[in-house]
């Protein structure tokens, strides 16, 4: 199959580089050209990633589209790319998120336009790289490289407290991942290879395995973010520009969950079993704690940020249920959450661009002044709650089902999170869109073309996955089954 698509992953990965080079030589005053070049290149990239999906072989649990070239061969490190059922869906999702970010920032970014689009393109490369890399050193390179553009995106184009937030974001994630580096080096010294496929199934003494697991898990837990290391997320989400929030919610925090599935589970199965219960408890705490925190927020973005923490709690819950249903649900829920929360942040960005306020009390009665916008927001709210028919339902249902098979008490607690979720989202909707029309929102401009273009694909995806979840589940089934075989 790969012979028909030579080097497709490299093409998807490095295509934005073309745009970066062009952007370097474009004069900075020519903002229209900068935007169009980025848009077109990322659109082509997205089409390529859809082609990748089309050629994926569902029955094969192993890595496909594998590329392996010499990189730093004297330490046995390769330029080694490949995707399997676990990672493949994240590739088009990353590119899609970048694409929509370009659309949603079309008018709202007015300052340092060139730098902004450069940062977005670099972020795209790093995101795709994280999901494709099968060499641990290469993976780490992409994993860390994403900090540079995100540091700038939050810090330069963010809100009033952006500097505090961006430092917090950078240092939190940096401190998490450096320990992962030591663990990677340790594994390399022990087995002489960075290749993921060669490291799977190696045996360690249990105490070493636990330490290695922790070193990886801290990095991923901070990215996810799990309670109690979640505090960077509300700040970063709140202060980031819309595009930054969308990338954070859409992809960045998925990298943590992906890391758990990709690295922690197969590389350290015994340590996983040992720590599973602790992580399940932390997940439930995150679900409930963040849910209650949402109820107390008076800031639109902060509320959605806390809801992310709660939803990602479901994801870790699913992953560490350690059965196929739970893990599939978790991966699906990551994709769903990327779509839904990304879309919610875009929606907030839409009104923020018009009013420059994120306070919930500032709004009210938006349904009367912007009916179409209210409809969009409704769809995403319901998807976030997990109403049947939307994609959120499938993900949460599968996770709870998987978790129920594993541990009934924890599932019972986690299920309350769904109710809290409904409470805060519906209450938010009521406060912002119904009630009396607040004079602040009278006469707001209706949705613009670029905003519609960014939101419509999300609505389509919400219902598409909601009604046909097998579109996604088919991809991951065989790979997840193979992964879980380790634990039987």
């Amino acid at each position: 199959m790969t012979s028909t698509l030579p080097n497709i992953l490299s093409w998807i990965l490095w295509l934005p580089l073309i745009a970066i080079v062009i952007l370097f030589f474009l004069p900075r005053r020519n903002e229209t050209a900068i935007k169009w070049v980025s848009l077109i290149v990322i659109l082509v990239d997205f089409i390529l990633s859809l082609i990748l999906l089309g050629y994926f072989d569902f029955s094969n649990p192993n890595f496909q589209f594998v590329e392996k070239r010499k990189w730093i061969d004297f330490i046995n490190s390769y330029y080694y790319l490949g995707v399997d059922g676990i990672s493949i869906l994240f590739v088009p999702l990353s590119v899609l998120v970048t694409l929509l970010c370009i659309l949603i920032s079309w008018d709202s970014i007015k300052d340092k336009v060139k730098e902004f689009y450069l940062s977005l393109l670099v972020t795209n490369i790093a995101m795709v790289g994280v999901f494709c890399a099968l060499d641990l050193l290469l993976f780490y390179l992409f994993w860390e490289a994403i900090l540079i553009p995100m540091y700038l995106i939050i810090g330069v184009w963010g809100g009033p407290r952006r500097i505090y937030s961006t430092f917090k974001f950078f240092l939190y994630t940096f401190i998490g991942s450096v320990f992962m580096l030591i663990a990677i080096i340790y594994m390399y010294i022990k087995f002489g290879t960075f290749e993921y496929t060669a490291l799977v199934g190696k045996d360690y003494p249990l105490h070493i395995e636990k330490l290695l697991f922790l070193a990886f898990a801290v990095a991923f837990a901070i990215k996810v973010p799990m309670w109690p290391v979640h505090t960077w997320l509300p700040d970063a989400h709140t202060e980031a520009p819309t595009a930054g929030s969308v990338i954070l919610a859409g992809i960045l925090i998925k990298m943590g969950g992906y890391g758990f599935v990709r690295f922690c589970l197969p590389l350290f199965p015994e340590a996983t079993l040992f720590f599973a219960k602790a992580i399940l408890v932390l997940s439930v705490v995150a679900i409930i704690y963040a849910g209650f925190a949402c109820l107390a927020q008076d800031d639109l973005k902060r509320l959605i940020a806390y809801s992310s923490v709660s939803h990602m709690g479901f994801v870790t819950l699913g992953i560490f249920s350690l059965n196929p249903i739970g893990v599939q649900g978790a991966i699906l829920q990551m994709i769903n959450h990327g779509i839904v929360t990304g879309a919610l942040f875009m929606c907030v960005g839409v009104v923020y661009d018009r009013t420059h306020s994120r306070a919930i009390s500032y709004y009210g009665g938006l349904a009367t002044t912007m009916p179409l916008y209210a409809a969009f927001f409704m769809v995403f709210t319901l998807a976030s709650i997990g109403l049947p028919g939307t994609n959120g339902f499938i993900g949460e249902f599968l996770i709870l089902l998987g978790s129920f098979l594993n541990n009934k008490v924890i599932t019972a607690f986690a299920a309350t999170g769904v109710i809290i979720g409904a409470a805060y989202m519906l209450w938010l909707y009521q406060r912002v869109f119904f009630q009396q029309v607040n004079p602040n929102v009278v006469g707001l401009e209706p949705l613009k073309v670029n905003e519609l273009a960014a939101l419509i694909p999300m609505v389509v995806l919400v219902f598409l996955i909601g009604f046909f979840p097998n579109l996604c589940l088919d991809f991951m089934r065989s790979s997840v089954d193979a992964l879980i075989m380790n634990f039987k």
Partner: protein, 485 residues
């Protein structure tokens, strides 16, 4: 045992050339009105030196001096650095015309010659003498800034006194070594040391040696001179001290430990653990609060010397080769950032204070972008060369089972990210402060900054050729040292 030493002058051609040219500059400087001649003369000399080093045959010049894989490779790296320093100096001295040009370049050449001699030296006395030869011109070069910066005398004197202290420790160490082994030759010390019953006493000598070099490398607790000396020197000289002098000192220390002290290298590495961890920690913490970017870079250079020193702890030759790699990358990064700072110093000196850099990304976006690259590289974030350098150092540490040292070192590097991020924060995220400054760029800016920034990115994604080259050099050196053909 030995043949009568034949004086093979072709081996030390490089040093002779440097000596001649530097002396000639001193002699004729008074009679030439256009002072730019000194720059071009030194530039050409250094380029010729590079060619000479490439074609110099490996061999002995008496027992005390030897050209080999190791010394020639490090010499080439130093020449590369000197070329950049010369270009930066040319740019700087265009605006600071009171500095006496002739002496300036001649002293750089003298210092370089000292470094070369030191790298090729095969006995401790020669090493001591050439360290002095390397250091003395630098004391002058700091004080040469007196016309612009009165405290530069203080910085120079401070460096001189601390430098003398370093020499004293080195001499003490030499005395102890001679007392217990009866020789100064590195290879003979190795032989005597392996069979000597006085291991403990010789370990003391090794410790004194480490103290002496710690002063040169500005490691905690011998670091106090660095910020003052860095701040008071002319900017290109600061970059010269930070990159080249440290590189040379580190390379020689590796050589001494590798050859003479190799039976004790593990113990010496363990002795270094507190010094190095403290250097990293204190260097990084002190850098946080500095408002003067030169002082910030001085403290960061303390931390970076610490990172490079981590390779000494690992005590195997792979680790040593990664030190060379680290110092080379640090040299590239430092010279890159200093070539930018020189532009700031030329246009408006206040720009050297970090808060005054606010909003530079608006006025000079491209330069700001270059600063971004160098800062992330200094912080060690991929995909820059700084990450690769740190990665290899930690690789060698873990390989030698010092996982806990690696964990601490890498945890401190998170603290170390802050000062660099702060510079970027000011440049990219703060409101513009100084406006209407004329920035002058010419080729003497574009060449160094272009070379260094491209290298930083290139090595960041494809470090293989360089690391392999450095490692192979050390390997070949060791094999020819112990098994000469």
């Amino acid at each position: 045992m030995m043949m009568l030493p034949q004086l093979n002058f072709s081996v030390i051609g490089v040093e002779i050339l440097l000596l001649l040219v530097a002396s000639i500059i001193f002699l004729i400087d008074k009679f030439i009105a256009n002072k730019n001649y000194a720059f071009f003369l030194s530039l050409i000399t250094v380029i010729i030196c590079a060619i000479l080093v490439l074609f110099t045959p490996f061999g002995d010049f008496t027992q005390a001096y030897k050209t080999d894989f190791y010394s020639s490779t490090v010499k080439l790296f130093l020449i590369f650095g000197t070329l950049l320093v010369l270009l930066i100096s040319y740019n700087y001295l265009n605006s600071y015309t009171f500095i006496n040009l002739g002496e300036y370049y001649a002293l750089i050449l003298f210092s370089l010659m000292g470094a070369f001699l030191m790298l090729s030296a095969m006995d401790l006395v020669t090493i001591y003498l050439s360290i002095e030869l390397m250091s003395f011109p630098v004391y002058f070069l700091i004080a040469i800034n007196y016309a612009y910066n009165k405290p530069s005398l203080e910085g120079s004197l401070k460096y001189f006194i601390v430098g003398s202290l370093s020499s004293i420790f080195l001499l003490l160490s030499l005395g102890v070594i001679y007392y217990f082994t009866g020789t100064f030759y590195l290879k003979e010390i190795f032989v005597k040391l392996s069979e000597s019953p006085y291991k403990k006493e010789l370990l003391l000598a090794g410790m004194l040696l480490l103290i002496s070099f710690s002063i040169k490398l500005s490691m905690v607790p011998f670091h106090m001179w660095a910020p003052d000396a860095y701040e008071s020197a002319p900017l290109p000289i600061t970059s010269f001290i930070a990159s080249l002098v440290k590189f040379a000192a580190m390379a020689v220390l590796i050589k001494i430990i590798l050859i003479a002290f190799s039976p004790l290298k593990v113990q010496l590495g363990q002795l270094l653990i507190p010094i190095i961890l403290l250097s990293i920690l204190i260097g990084n913490i002190m850098a946080i609060k500095q408002d003067n970017i030169i002082r910030m870079l001085a403290y960061s250079s303390i931390a970076h010397a610490g990172y490079a020193g981590l390779g000494l702890i690992s005590a195997d030759f792979v680790g040593y080769s990664f030190i060379i790699f680290y110092m080379l990358i640090y040299l590239i990064m430092t010279l890159g950032i200093f070539s930018i700072l020189v532009v700031f110093a030329n246009s408006q000196r206040e720009l050297l204070y970090i808060p005054n850099m606010a909003g530079l990304s608006k006025t000079i976006p491209f330069i700001s972008f270059l600063i971004l690259i160098f800062m992330f590289s200094l912080a060690g974030v991929p995909p820059t060369a700084g990450f690769m350098a740190k990665f290899y150092i930690f690789l060698s540490l873990v390989k030698s089972h010092y996982v806990w040292v690696a964990v601490l070192g890498i945890a401190f590097s998170v603290i170390g990210a802050y000062p660099y991020l702060r510079v970027l924060k000011v440049i990219y995220m703060d409101e513009e402060k100084l406006t209407g400054i004329n920035y002058r760029y010419d080729w003497s800016f574009f060449i160094p900054v272009g070379i260094t920034s491209i290298l930083v990115l290139l090595i960041g994604v494809y470090p293989k050729p360089l690391v392999e080259f450095v490692q192979r050099t050390l390997f070949l050196y060791l094999s020819t040292l112990y098994f000469p053909h």
